[in-house]
Amino acid sequence: AQSVTQLDSQVPVFEEAPVELRCNYSSSVSVYLFWYVQYPNQGLQLLLKYLSGSTLVESINGFEAEFNKSQTSFHLRKPSVHISDTAEYFCAVSDSPTGGGNKLTFGTGTQLKVEL
């Protein structure tokens, strides 16, 4: 069985400050890791994913996450946040690199609130 823990339910941060959203997972098999973002009144959309290769993965809007096998973590970071980054962020783990939502386990989400 696999599980995901997002310890912080809410993270307030000032604009242009750095932020880290924490994600820890447990799994007895190979893991494939994802971050999804949900903007207000919208569905989730994929932000970035780790399937294989480099343990550091980046999104097009400046977020990055590092797969750390020894610490079973996949924390999401951004060096300087913008007001438009205000959203809820979900970490997810799968035991299949090509499997769909039936293979995914989502965390409970972290609400990032960027303040001026």
Binding site: F34, G43, P97, T98
Partner: protein, 110 residues
């Protein structure tokens, strides 16, 4: 780009009523899903389908039914609405490891 379209966006039901949440996708994805999202609980998978004519239960299927007669459509049926089914419902489809979500249906059962 339509993607995944859900209707309605909002609905209020009385206890015991029934309704169907509609979902259609235009990306020709074989896999489709229904999730419910409750505050602080993340997303829970209700049902999924790997192709037309094939459906399977997810983590929380009780009180719901689905059908998949075409690749495009995947409706979710609530037969006897209960207050515990008050939630936001998301339909999604997937290509490989990426899910594409609709904008959700906010359902209240009173």
């Amino acid at each position: 780009n339509a993607g995944v379209t859900q209707t309605p966006k909002f609905r209020i039901l009385k206890i015991g009523q029934s309704m169907t949440l509609q979902c259609t996708q235009d990306m020709n994805h074989n896999y489709m899903y229904w999730y419910r999202q409750d505050p602080g609980m993340g997303l829970k998978l209700i049902y999924y389908s790997v192709g037309a004519g094939i459906t399977d239960k997810g983590e929380v299927p009780n009180g719901y039914n689905v059908s998949r007669s075409t690749t495009e459509d995947f409706p979710l049926r609530l037969e006897l609405a209960a207050p515990s089914q008050t939630s936001v419902y998301f339909c999604a489809s997937s290509k490989a490891s990426e899910l594409f979500f609709g904008s959700g249906t906010q359902l209240s059962v009173l």
